[in-house]
Amino acid sequence: MIHEDVVCPFCGCLCDDIAVTTEDNMITDVKNGCAISKSKFMNHHLNLLESALVDNMKVSLDEAVGRAVEILTNADNPLIYGLSSTECEAQRHAIHLAELLGATIDQTASVCHGPTILGTQDAGCVKCTLGEVKNRADLIIYWGCNPAEAHIRHFRRYSVFPEGLFRKSKKEREVVVVDVRNTASARIATTFLQIAPGTDFETISLMRAYLKGKGDALPDEFKNLVERMKRCEFGIMFFGLGLTMSRGKHLNVDAALRLVRDLNEYTKFSITPMRGHYNVAGAGSTMAWITGYPFAVNFSMGYPVSNPGEFSAVDVLARKECDAALIIASDPVANFPAESWKHLADIPTIVMDPKVSLTSRIAKVSIPVATAGIEAEGTAYRMDGIPLRLKKVVDTTRLSDAAVLSRMIEKVRA
């Protein structure tokens, strides 16, 4: 059986044109997707968490959920973390659970594009959809990101190569890559501008000053870029972790957002973060429409309070403030600093994941779940904030994240 127009549940591009062939409930072929997408679909059944575990002993799902709820309700300061690689319904239930428990809830943006959210809160953000980019953009800037290797189909579907309404091919678009090294993306660009590591803020600030007629110290190639930015008909800047995770973090993003805002005095210019996990944008949106805040939210006083730095998972763990943790669709042991993840090994940690991960290995309770977007349907938000429906292409006996979380909620309420 061929499933058409399946949404790829891997990166923030959320390509919605994948064709997946299944036979006897097994995926046998994947068309249109990039190599990462193919690997995600074809290997989704490998390395699975085979059974619910408590203290590494096989137990029934009900027992594992019961033990998880016991740990979470007895905790004085539980933490819920992850969310970006699952669908919005599950995220909604996780937030509800956090509210019932009086927990801190944070999503993975706090270690990637959290500074983007802080920058947006400071400066605002001129946005547009990727459809508008494809149809209209004649100047495309990638700053501190490498889509050729991280968002493989971004060039082909949304920016450089697609046939749009007003821009028909790469010939009608100018592509500029600004980065600290000559990446695979830089080789596709019409212009590559190399900057010294850690000077993004200084460069963007000088570009803004030059726009105001003052930044004489700006190097000539960047003066030239600002002139081209002013002259273009529809400009777009994509930025990645090169801005958000280098020294200065939210200040870098703040400056970039302000530059784009300033450019709208001259022409139409937008800016979009290159979000990593496929539904990290959804995690921010879901948390924002339910709690009022996109990440690092605490419910210990019964109402939501947000303060990145105080309630962000890395910081809460580094200060050893939480005494139990529920990790949903994420692997913090693999990507948090040692001082943070070591605390996860010291406290009772519960993991909900389809696969075995480093975090599931140190967890007290592991709960296997269905893979969202392959074994369970749901909604995910693309990097530009467009919601798309994830499809279920194979059946499984395992429950979805949302179903497990609603069982937990029932037990907490009982």
């Binding site: 905790a75 004085d76 300061n77 539980p78 428990l101 009086g102 927990a103 802080l118 809160q121 400071d122 803020f201 200084e202 600030s205 000088l206 803004r208 000053a209 105001k212 003052k214 930044g215 110290a217 020294r247 200065g248 200040l251 703040d254 400056a255 302000r258 419910f299 210990s300 006083m301 947000s306 303060n307 990145p308 730095g309 105080e310 200060r319 050893k320 403030e321 005494d323």
Partner: protein
């Protein structure tokens, strides 16, 4: 009132009730009945502190590195902390004085509107700063830190004075809109980023952002008057006669923003 912490875990205690305003006119029994949060559990102050009446109006606390919001919004009176203090110390305070004999965590004096905070050792990030999404940080009042301070000291500061005798972290005075920040140690990276107005006074040479431009070297009259007034405070800020009479190099910025901020670097 003497308060000694009973719990020694890392679970944060949220206690905005520890202010002279809340304590005034209350017996030990009544003070012990004030609500606090230990993690997500609502408790009474007596559950987390041993409370004794020493007959003084001053609130004296032991080392409380995990207790948040001490002195929040206080309008008068004194708090002395005989050790470290937790986050949000004196946040939004309007008057009175808080003395910390150890270190203080992040957001001390955040969005304060008056009063004084004196820290004997180091301060954390966002000292006198603004909460995320807020329009302005500290707005009147005085903060003196004898040691170093973290990142984004005085972020979005509108009025008031911050003196850091040690080093500053990154982006001190970022998006500053007014007020004065004085630093005697190393001023850190990206000082005054996105600054609109306000003054930063330095006694060590900074690596300034390229969006600050040199104006002149002179002895600013306002600074002379200002330092003389600061000298009169009991906080022993290391102001010398040279600092008052010497010349300063004035830089103006951040020119990517309004550009009316000024950085004075002491010359001789």
């Amino acid at each position: 009132m003497l308060l000694n912490p009973l719990v020694k875990t890392a679970i944060p205690v949220t206690a905005p009730c520890i202010t002279p305003d809340w304590f005034s006119g209350k017996s030990v029994e009544e003070v012990g009945n004030l609500p606090v949060y230990y993690g997500n559990k609502e408790k009474r102050l007596r559950d987390v502190f041993d409370i004794k009446d020493d007959g003084k109006d001053i609130i004296t606390l032991g080392s409380v590195p995990t207790v948040k919001y001490i002195g929040k919004g206080m309008t008068a009176g004194s708090i002395v902390i005989k050790g470290d203090a937790g986050m949000h110390l004196g946040a939004e305070m309007k008057g009175g004085c808080i003395t910390v004999e150890g270190n203080v965590s992040d957001w001390a004096g955040a969005e304060m509107k008056g009063g004084e905070i004196v820290v004997a050792q180091n301060a954390g990030h966002c000292l006198g700063g603004a909460y995320r999404g807020s329009k302005s940080g500290m707005n009147k009042g005085l903060i003196v830190v004898k040691g170093n301070a973290g990142n984004e000291v005085g972020g979005l500061m509108k009025k008031g004075i911050i003196v850091v005798e040690g080093n500053l972290g990154d982006a001190a005075g970022c998006s500053m809109k007014g007020g004065t920040l004085i630093c005697y140690g190393h001023p850190g990276n990206r000082l005054g980023a996105l600054m609109q107005r306000g003054s930063i006074v330095l006694y060590e040479s900074p690596a300034l952002l390229p969006t600050f431009t040199y104006d002149a070297e002179y002895n600013p009259t306002w600074l002379r008057v200002f330092l003389r007034e600061l000298q009169k405070t009991p906080h022993r800020i290391p102001i010398t006669q040279n600092h008052i009479e010497g010349t300063y190099r004035r830089y103006n910025g951040d020119i990517s923003e309004l550009g009316k901020g000024e950085i004075f670097v002491f010359h001789e």
